[in-house]
Symmetry: C2
DNA sequence: ATGAAAGCGCTAACAT
DNA sequence: ATGTTAGCGCTTTCAT
């Protein structure tokens, strides 16, 4: 049923847009639906006068294309699925921004799914591709989970971002985690620290294992024997996980004089935890984080950290996916982006 | 063209799901498409034996429903649009989580749009409803922008969340900002502070003006004359906006002995800025923030702040929208949720 | 309990 | 340059 929009107002549109279809516009402009479709989609073969007539009819009727119908007809949803383990984490937030910005430039929207790194939920989300709810996906979940998908969903159009295993044969974008972690720890050692601890996150993430390798590399390079009691693994990336781990580390008989945390959120928690046990940063313990989220520069002391190009990571992932979508057959390369050590006051 | 899934593997599905339609399943089960549709949608009138046959055909063919087609037919996208000014802000992130969790419970997905509080982009997003891309919307944008929409989109199904103007006649959920800000400032005054500064954000937000009112209320109640030089307005909510504003405030001839910042992100920046100019918190300047994001407890000193029930705010908004969608005609109430002052060490 | 058939609103192939 | 028409894959009357 038609209804007036703002009936008390002069600038009224005479039909409710809700009920106007392309056929109504065609009738009003006295052309066929095909012609209306042509002007809608900017095709060339329409006489200017006709185009004007159609445009006028669209404006007068308040017509809006029904994308539900268009999507069925063109067999695409124009939605990109983005699976993140925790989008409240500022690191992921910035990546998602990058993804979203290029998606939008190409008239796609982003379906953001917080999987909580739970393989069960991840699997359901992947099914969105098969049900045509999304055209492609970008996955930031643990490599272990990705490997499982790759086996059952290898043919589906998706991309790994940040967390990736080149072996599984899915296009990816990320950084060289091992080398980056090595850089962080080398910096600590160069500052004279010898008892360098590692606070790692969940090692179902490949990046966690790679950063551990980098940590070990730097130690060995410097002739320092790795000490298992200086390595902590915490479940997640929450601030207080870092705080607790730091406190625990300081209880030991030979506490560290430096800590490398595999994420800034963890490192920020570490600093809070250290303060709680009365330790000074960097005097007693030097800290290096990872990611360079915007908060890193604001805390006390400002955090030394490995900067990841988060925005570009997201943008690249989206571009990779879009090219994969455009040329279904063609192989898409894996790409590695550069990192950078940002030295502030915590180390 | 059909292709095999994991052709080297035993657990092969014989057709590529991509190409199987409901008709194929019907043929395979030797029933009509109507019957397949019935079992797909859990309708009652199907004989158990028939249902089994259909289920088997679905499993054998790897069929997945094409939601593009279903959506056109049922005339719904099952997508909820969520417009936030900045989803990287942890405050919004938690609200979005709340929205998403109830949306999902009701088989909706969330289309998250970062408007950057830009009215132009907001307007475009609203058009997604008219183009049937989304079934309803939740808007966290400035009240000024919302007022504009209300005029041209009053009939569309949408809800205000956090930021709302009861006058515009759109269902809303939020807190009593004026009273909450008053509580914050009263706390500062009770602690003996007299020169209380306000660091406010963009006053195109109604919440900003309401919190300013609450600030003024508390001052007047205590017999303190408001001082314009103690009130700063910054553009956004970024950490460093707070830092800059705090430094500026301290330059004045009569600097404040307390600062109320209208958001935690601002307050965290304020603390960083104060540290940069050599001021101690809370000794020289006491600080109260607003929101109680998870970071508030981690910084040094831990932040005293007004807690908003972010998760519930989001959940309620989604529920409101869903009921509005379910009963198109019926009016949906506005709801106010309780806030709480969380006293930590910064004030 | 099941099937036949009519569309949902659009795009695009095929006329003209 | 424009029109006619056949679907896209599904849900849902309406028959039986």
């Amino acid at each position: 049923m038609a209804r007036k929009q703002r009936p008390e107002n002069g600038a009224v549109v005479d039909d409710a847009a809700a009920d106007v279809s392309i056929g109504d516009v065609a009738a009003r402009a006295d052309v066929s639906v095909a012609t209306v479709s042509r002007v809608l989609n900017g095709h060339a073969n329409v006489r200017p006068a006709t185009r004007e007539r159609v445009l006028a009819a669209i404006a007068a009727s308040g017509y809006r294309v029904n994308e539900l119908a268009r999507n069925l007809r063109t067999a695409e949803s124009r939605l990109l699925l983005t699976m993140v383990p925790d989008f409240g984490n500022p690191f992921y937030a910035e990546i998602v921004r990058g993804i979203d910005s290029v998606a939008r430039q190409h008239d796609y929207f982003t379906l953001l799914c917080d999987t909580g790194a739970d393989p069960g939920r991840e699997r359901n989300y992947f099914d969105l591709l098969r049900r045509r709810r999304a055209d492609g996906a970008i996955c930031l979940d643990p490599a272990t989970a990705q490997r499982a998908f790759a086996e059952e969903s290898g043919a589906l159009p998706w991309i790994s971002c940040c967390e990736f295993d080149p072996e599984i044969g899915v296009p990816y974008v990320g950084i060289d985690n091992r080398r980056a972690a090595g850089d962080a720890v080398r910096h600590l050692i160069a500052r004279g620290r010898r008892r360098v601890a590692l606070i790692n996150s969940d090692t179902t993430y490949l990046y966690a294992r790679q950063r551990e390798q980098g940590y070990l590399d730097a130690l060995v390079e410097a002739g320092i024997a790795p000490n298992a009691r200086l390595q902590a693994e915490v479940g997640g990336l929450e601030y207080d996980a870092g705080a607790r781990a730091a406190c625990a580390l300081m209880q030991s008989s030979e506490p560290p004089d430096a800590i490398f945390a595999v994420s800034d959120t963890l490192a920020i928690g570490v600093i809070a935890g250290l303060r709680a046990c009365g330790k000074r940063v960097p005097d007693d313990v030097a800290i290096v984080g990872f990611d360079d989220i915007s908060l890193a520069a604001q805390i006390d002391p400002p955090l030394t950290t490995v900067a990841q190009p988060m925005r570009e990571l997201g943008e690249t992932a989206a571009r990779l996916l879009l090219t994969r979508l455009a040329n279904a057959g063609k192989a898409v390369p894996g790409v590695l982006l550069p990192h950078r050590l940002v030295v502030r006051r915590s180390a």
